[in-house]
């Protein structure tokens, strides 16, 4: 049963026809060809498919595609100010060694961004709590926490300057 889904995706209006029972994850990957959002478990346990829905991080594998009608979705592809470039947080992930195989990275960047929007001065414990929904098998999380922590500091410093 197809349904028309109109929503905002990475700042642009999107209108797409898709079966009502597909997940947001499938909608992004199979119908919109945005493959930066990954499937790791499809049951909400790994966070690889994290996206921002109205600014809050969710597992796109547990969201039904038509649920996003009229709402705002941001994927890893939409975080950078310019397409193909990197946001400050993405750049910090690279700089601090938070990226290895990279498969969890899109979800972790999204979770990190959600955390930083919510909490401008997170402690390391709060960062661990904030990314607890994102499994990473390569890094042991330490450098991911570094990257998020350093980005928070940079953003705070930039605000002071302004």
């Amino acid at each position: 049963m197809n349904i028309q889904i109109d929503f905002t995706l990475n700042g642009r209006a999107v209108s797409i026809d898709a079966p009502a029972h597909v997940t947001l994850l499938r909608l992004l990957r199979d119908y919109l060809n945005l493959t930066g959002t990954k499937e790791g478990c499809a049951i909400g346990e790994c966070g690889a498919c994290s996206v921002l829905l109205d600014g809050r991080v969710v597992n796109s594998c547990l969201v039904l595609a038509p649920q996003v009608s009229g709402r705002d979705v941001m994927t890893v592809e939409g975080l950078a100010p310019v397409e193909g470039a990197m946001s400050d947080l993405q750049a910090a992930f690279v700089k601090y060694g938070a990226v290895q195989c990279g498969y969890c990275t899109p979800g972790l960047v999204i979770a990190g961004e959600a955390l930083l929007r919510d909490n401008h001065f997170p402690t390391r414990d709060e960062i661990n709590d904030g990314i607890a929904g994102n499994l990473c098998r390569c890094t042991g999380y330490q450098q991911i926490v570094d990257a998020i922590e350093q980005t928070a500091r940079q953003r705070a410093a930039a605000q002071v300057k302004e």
């Binding site: 478990c41 498969y103 969890c104 709590d129 042991g140 450098q143």
Partner: protein, 795 residues
């Protein structure tokens, strides 16, 4: 050319594939979308052991949307493959030996058609007795699993694939005469690799009958060799391109080769691109694991705790197919008694067939199991002689010039003592060992601290010739293109190669692009395993880069009209006798004008060593890495929950080439060790895996990993590029036994079976849920009763 100062190597650097991975642009094999791409679904065995009495796919081919169906009949020699023992098949032939083994694959225009196709296949299975554990495998009346003649066949134990041995003297009389003796048996669990990317492959046919395979594999050349053989094609008709790989840890060899050959065959049959992407459940049910092991350790020591002799025997549950467990067992044998000196050691590691999925490579490759056990045993001996565990180790560890447990002499710098001393000091070990027991009296939360150390042989060692090939070319725009036959599946190898090439050439890393490994552009370098990329692949890159660097020096000398020896370098600048610097581009352009060919091939090989597999003697490795790890825990005495509070780790990995990458490997390895020690265990009941997704197969989250304080002890290694060794595998080795030793310190309970689940810690034994549901069958598609699979009892 060993340089003492470096411009890029050893300095902070960005991972070359970091930006694409961070912004979502990186394409993994499951991300490719090509026109006309078909999807696949598999018919897999719903039972652990059976004879295939009938397999009829004709009805499936009539299902609308189905374009092809393949079985073992579609491959040369029924798709038999496997190294060193060729006991495996691309799709099951005559028998199925584990739950989830592939029997037939359907390619169709969409998932619904493919599923309908699978449901139309008729399969009759005649059930065979199931070997559920290693004890059953050894019984005289046990059903025989493999269809090859094994070493054990000659001794009436056909399910013993082989035994790898070490013979260094005769430990029996020495142990018998020792005042302090230990005889204990330890056990380790099956471990799932749990790479975040489930397996994916895409095969694309070419008009000339050749095929391109994009795969998430570790070793594209091995993949090509197997695919070509089973497809009946010359190797140059099969091109394997390694996509970006989402983690492997040893886990993306045999299973991905099966997928590659399957999709390649379907692509050739249908003349359409064919993709195969596993769900997490399919990945966990179908893919191989780290073997489960039982290890009996017998040690003799004198009253002061000086180790005298060791006799160690290990049994590895290799599951239905031997795969690389044959080699895992060899590495286990080489490390069974740990990083200590003895008068005599023997080791025997038996590889057994069971119907428990199958086992193969996983980070540490046998040494993970060995260290997990011997390092608990060492603590048990230390307690008998009332020695501090670190003092016990310092008294017995190997140093330069000593004989290792295999009897070979160690001819290298050894940083192990420095590692132990560093973790001891940083963790405040002596105070905590002393004070925790007093604090713990009657406390609900008890603190403990434990240590483990290890040695780990570098590279393939006696397993095979250890070489790699690299190429390097300066392009028309003066960018630099590198290839390497060794690959990067998340480890950072491409970045290491880039930094080495940059340093040797004097070219900024931003100029350099390392191609994804493609069997048509790179040169075969054997498998990318055994943490050998930095040393062997790095040296090959160095050799290639040195050839070009020499040409550039000649060109600069020609430009400066001086002798080549008078040309100096400062990063990209060439400086002649008049001290006026000339930039890289000018020199490269001049070299071209001189007619120099600015491309080169570098090959490098570790010195050949010899191990006699029959006698169990020789030199197993050209060198070793070393390390020590300490874990501090809190144990809840009411529930048995163990919390790791803090970890200290010091590793002698030689010169660190790419610090962010090396620390990342270290933290990641430690975290996998933490999972292995505390929570990870593939639960297989009667051949069925229970925990088939990340809700039940749990790995550490960010909330479970404590702060890790780590350092590298850079004892130089003369064969490594810039003195480097390796880090990927050894990083995980010490954590699990250090945890077990810490739990003992906290509770006085010695739990000789990993992982240290709350049940084991509280009760001293695990609990098994025998009525777990049919998770495997559900995810293999048997829930709705539509599969036409008939199961009968043997007459």
């Amino acid at each position: 050319m060993l340089r003492h100062t470096t411009n890029w190597v050893t300095k902070p650097a960005n991972r070359v594939d970091g930006p694409d991975k961070a912004n979502g642009a990186a394409k993994y094999a499951g991300d490719y979308r090509v026109p006309g791409q078909l999807v696949t679904r598999a018919l897999r065995s719903p039972i652990p052991h059976a004879r295939i009495t009938r397999l009829d796919t004709s009805a499936a081919l009539k299902v609308p949307g189905v374009l092809a169906v393949i079985t073992s009949d579609d491959f040369v020699d029924h798709g038999r493959f496997g190294f060193p023992v060729a006991d495996n098949f691309i799709l099951a032939y005559q028998k199925v030996r584990y739950v989830g083994e592939g029997v037939a694959i359907v390619a169709a225009v969409d998932a619904d058609a493919a599923e309908a196709g699978v449901n139309a296949i008729e399969l009759d299975l005649e059930q065979l007795p199931v070997i559920e554990d290693m004890e059953q495998a050894l019984r005289p009346d046990a059903p025989v699993i493999p269809d090859v003649v094994t070493e054990g066949s000659k001794k009436g134990q056909p399910n013993v694939c082989l035994t790898q041995i070490v013979r260094n003297g005769d430990p029996e009389p020495i142990i018998a005469a020792s005042p302090v003796q230990l005889d204990q048996t330890y056990a380790t669990p099956f471990q799932e690799h749990a790479y975040l990317e489930p397996e994916a492959v895409l095969s694309i046919p070419n008009p000339d009958g050749s095929v391109i395979i994009y795969a998430c594999d570790q070793s594209p050349f091995n993949n090509r060799g197997i695919a070509a053989a089973v497809l009946g094609l010359p190797e140059d008709k099969v091109r394997v391109i390694q996509a970006i790989v989402g983690g492997s840890f040893g886990g993306k060899d045999e299973g991905v080769y099966q997928m590659s050959a399957q999709t390649a065959k379907l692509a050739l049959l249908t003349n359409r691109p064919v993709g195969m992407v596993f769900s997490r459940e399919e990945s966990i049910i179908v893919s191989y694991k780290r073997d489960a092991s039982k290890i009996r350790v017998r040690l003799g020591a004198d009253k002061d705790g000086k180790l005298q002799a060791a006799k160690v025997e290990a049994w590895l549950d290799g599951g239905a197919y031997s795969a690389e467990t044959v080699l895992t067992a060899w590495r286990a044998a080489m490390h069974l008694a740990g990083a200590y000196t003895y008068q005599a050691v023997t080791g025997d590691v038996h590889v057994l067939y069971t119907n428990n999925n199958y086992s193969s490579a996983f980070r540490g490759f046998g040494n993970t199991e060995a260290v997990a056990c011997i390092e608990q045993a060492i603590d048990e001996v230390a307690e008998q002689v009332a020695l501090d565990p670190i003092d016990m180790r310092l008294k017995n560890i190997i140093g330069k010039g000593d004989r290792t447990m295999t009897g070979a002499t160690l001819n290298q710098e050894v940083g192990l003592r420095a590692c132990l001393e560093w973790v001891r000091q940083k963790s405040d070990w002596d105070r905590k060992r002393r004070e925790f027991p007093a604090q713990n009296k009657n406390a609900r939360y008890r603190k403990g601290i434990g240590v483990a150390c290890y040695f780990h042989g570098m590279g393939l060692g006696g397993e095979g010739v250890d070489f790699a090939n690299a190429t390097i070319a300066i392009e028309r725009d003066n960018s630099v293109t590198l290839t390497n036959g060794l690959t990067d599946y998340g480890t950072g190898a491409r970045t290491v190669f880039t930094l080495i090439a940059a340093d040797v050439l004097g070219a900024r890393p931003e100029r350099i692009k390392v191609l994804l490994t493609d069997t048509e552009t790179a040169i075969n370098s054997g498998p990318t395993v055994a943490s050998r990329a930095s040393v062997v692949g790095g040296n090959a890159t160095r050799v290639a880069a040195e050839k070009i660097a020499q040409l550039l020096t000649f060109a600069a000398a020609n430009l400066f009209k001086c002798a080549p020896a008078q040309v100096l370098r400062d990063k990209e600048a060439f400086i002649g006798p008049d001290e006026e610097p000339v930039d890289f581009d000018t020199v490269v352009n001049h070299a071209r004008q001189l007619g120099y060919v600015l491309s080169a091939h570098g090959r490098w090989q570790l010195p050949v060593i010899h191990w006699d597999f029959e006698k169990g003697t020789g030199t197993p490795y050209v060198g070793y890495t070393f390390g020590a790890q300490i874990v501090e825990v809190t144990v809840h005495t009411g529930t048995g929950r163990v919390q790791a509070d803090r970890i200290w780790a010091a590793h002698d990995i030689g010169k660190v080439l790419f610090p962010e990458g090396a620390y990342g490997q270290l933290y990641g390895g430690i975290t996998q060790g933490l999972g292995y020690g505390l929570m990870e265990e593939v639960e297989i009941n009667h051949g069925y895996i229970h925990n088939v997704n990340f809700d039940d197969y749990i790995i550490p989250t960010a909330m479970d990993v404590p702060p890790i304080e780590a350092t590298f002890v850079e004892a130089p290694f003369h064969l490594g590029p810039y003195g480097a060794k390796n880090v990927a595998e050894p990083s995980m080795l010490g954590v699990a036994p250090a945890l077990a030793n810490a739990v003992y310190h906290a509770t006085g309970k010695r739990i000789r079976e990993l992982p240290l689940t709350p049940e084991r810690v509280l009760l001293g034994h695990a609990l098994h849920n025998d009525d777990h549901g049919d998770n495997s069958r559900l995810w293999l598609g048997y829930a709705d009763g539509l599969r036409k699979v008939r199961i009968t009892q043997a007459a």
